[in-house]
């Protein structure tokens, strides 16, 4: 399978900080990758590098193109929604559809209008009259009508209520995603995306600390609930993390045989957010 993105030795320095530190990764087609990291870990910088919005050192290949040199061509195949409220406030719905329809060669106007028909948006409405959720609905309708190979979402649901958030990801899965498309999403609302992700990437201090698909993560990381009397034995096995619930201890193990853990107590798959918290321990200390 051909890679959509190949990064080798990607680095980016800002004035007095290192946003990306010699990062290498490879993202194949047909995946939904969650790029998760604490604030300031370099997520947005990585996305900006992929989108050709910033300079960097190292090798980066996106859909066979160099985002630094071939940005205009690249953007025919790549869409992104960065944060909410980046649509210009003066723009009307009809103007947005007209404009994108006429400058984007892969835009399907009928599709976009069908998406818009499912919302409360009317053609004459301006962005400044819309709620945050409606702005995202408009942006998503525009983006989903573009037959792009790579979609990048940087905190797309920030500040939205839960109805809009659920609907956002549901639309993406039902009406947009297929095996030819790749989606990269960064968000802090990990719980809401974890069931749609196929791959997970943790980034911390400019480094990728975890890069695996969800199946591999389920095999590698195991959570086990242990009674108090066996906690010492579990601790001796060097768990990633430990927390107490109802007098029992929950340990998170990385790469320990499943059968060994099953003998100690009830095992289960850790949630991405628990895994994240355990991996990022001490980030802000």
């Amino acid at each position: 399978m051909s890679a959509v993105i190949t990064a080798t030795g990607l680095s980016k320095h800002y004035k007095n900080s290192l946003a990306l530190d010699n990062v290498s990764f490879r993202i194949p087609a047909g995946r939904i990758v969650g790029l998760i990291g604490p604030n300031g870990a370099g997520k947005t910088t990585a996305l900006k590098a992929i989108l050709g919005l910033t300079d960097f050192s190292g090798q980066l290949n996106v859909l066979g193109l160099d985002p630094r040199k071939q940005r205009d061509k690249l953007m025919e195949q790549v869409c992104f929604i960065a944060d909410v409220a980046v649509l210009p406030r003066w723009l009307r719905v009809s103007e947005a559809v007209d404009f994108v329809g006429n400058v984007h060669p892969r835009f399907d106007r009928a599709k976009c209008e069908a998406f818009l028909a499912r919302t409360k948006l009317t053609p004459g409405m301006r962005v400044r009259q819309m709620s945050k959720g409606m702005i995202v609905q408009l942006h998503l309708a525009l983006v989903m009508a573009i037959d792009a190979r790579l979609l990048i979402l940087d905190e797309p649901t920030l500040g939205l209520d839960i109805l809009y958030r659920k609907q956002f990801y549901q639309n993406l899965l039902e009406d947009y995603f297929d095996e030819n498309k790749t989606i990269i999403v960064t968000t802090h609302q990990v719980e809401e995306v974890e069931h749609i992700l196929t791959d997970l990437m943790f980034i911390r201090d400019g480094k990728i600390v975890l890069d695996a698909d969800m199946d591999a993560i389920g095999e590698r990381f195991i959570e086990v609930m242990v009674n108090g009397d066996r906690a010492e034995a579990a601790r001796a096995m060097k768990p990633l993390d430990e927390r107490q619930v109802f007098g029992k201890s929950i340990f998170l193990f990385d790469g320990v045989e499943r059968s060994t853990l099953e003998a100690m107590g009830e095992v289960r798959r850790p949630s991405v957010s628990d895994l994240f918290v355990a991996t990022m321990k001490g980030t802000y200390a």
């Binding site: 900006k48 989108l51 205009d72 929604i81 980046v86 406030r89 006429n102 400058v103």
Partner: protein, 319 residues
């Protein structure tokens, strides 16, 4: 090409208020003020039971020979230019601020991320803004300006006809069509002349992290003051006046309509024949500016600044 057309259209959508409504409203306001002045004149004239006079004491109720009519016709032409000039002046102020915001506002509200998510080159984006400032806005202002001038002409002729003057004779001696054609044909010259200011303002707009207005204004003014203070231009055998005129004013004031005429022969203080003035507004006289290096050096400087703005638009990374 299609993309470029839509980019220009987008600029028009965003700045409909400045590009379309402002010249329309300023033209209308000017007309209304004139109508009010004429009515006031009529009323006062009736009260004091004297004849209503325009054009410096011409007795309009009397008979006029062809020469006189010709002079009045020319005067009416000049009046049309004045009306259009006022509308264009307002457009110039609007375009000044449009250029300052053109590459800055969308960085500030981060909508640049939306525009940059579309397959549009930065060159086309910036050039569409240059075209909006140098062609689209002046064309719209010219249309409304000449329309307002034309209406004023009709109103003036109608008022004159109330005083027994032949309205058609007056109108036939003015040249509204010629005025309109002149105005429109001067737009290319205007676009070339305005390039250094458009370029400088857009460069500041693309470069400044905040307050592009202050940078755009203070940098040339400060340079001018330093040059004057230390007499730096003496090194090149040029007075500091040269610097103010050829650098500072070209960077900031080239949007003023007809600015290129500053070097043209001065009109006599009190021209005896109004047609002399009209000659100075004529096309041939204006396009003689094409021969001056001043125009072209400015245009080259403006193009360089615009190229710099395109580069900054591509690589400025602060969103």
């Amino acid at each position: 090409m299609k993309t470029f057309y839509w980019l220009v259209k987008r600029e028009f959508w965003e700045h409909r208020g400045g590009f379309f409504w402002a010249p329309l409203i300023s033209g209308s306001v000017f007309l209304v003020l004139n109508i009010m002045a004429l009515i006031t004149g009529e009323v006062l004239g009736n009260r004091s039971n004297t004849h209503f006079n325009i054009a410096g004491g011409l007795n309009l109720s009397g008979h006029m020979d062809a020469d006189m009519l010709g002079k009045i016709g020319t005067g009416l032409d000049i009046a049309m230019y004045v009306v259009a000039g006022i509308v264009l002046m307002i457009m110039a102020i609007i375009v000044f601020f449009y250029c300052l915001g053109s590459l800055y506002d969308d960085r500030r509200d981060r909508s640049i991320l939306f525009w940059k998510s579309l397959p549009i080159s930065n060159r086309d984006t910036v050039l569409s803004k240059v075209v909006s400032a140098s062609i689209v806005a002046p064309v719209i202002a010219c249309v409304f300006g000449t329309a307002a001038g034309l209406l004023l002409l009709l109103i003036a002729a109608f008022t004159a006809s109330l005083h027994g003057l032949n309205m058609w004779a007056l109108l036939m001696n003015s040249h509204p069509l010629l005025v309109a054609i002149n105005m429109i044909s001067l737009i290319p010259l205007y676009a070339i002349w305005a390039l250094p200011t458009i370029g400088w303002l857009m460069f500041c707009s693309a470069w400044a992290r905040s307050k592009p207005f202050l940078w755009a204004l203070l940098a040339p003014l400060a340079a001018g003051v330093i040059v004057s203070w230390f007499g730096l231009m003496g090194l090149f055998n040029l007075g500091s006046g040269w610097f103010w005129k050829n650098i500072v004013s070209r960077m900031l004031l080239s949007l003023v309509p007809g600015g290129w005429l500053r070097d043209a022969a001065q009109i006599d203080n009190e021209p005896t024949d109004p047609s002399v003035i009209l000659d100075h507004i004529g096309l041939a006289h204006n396009y003689a500016t094409l021969a001056s290096p001043d125009l072209w050096i400015g245009a080259i400087a403006g193009s360089v600044l615009i190229s710099a703005a395109i580069w900054l638009r591509r690589w400025r990374d602060d969103s």
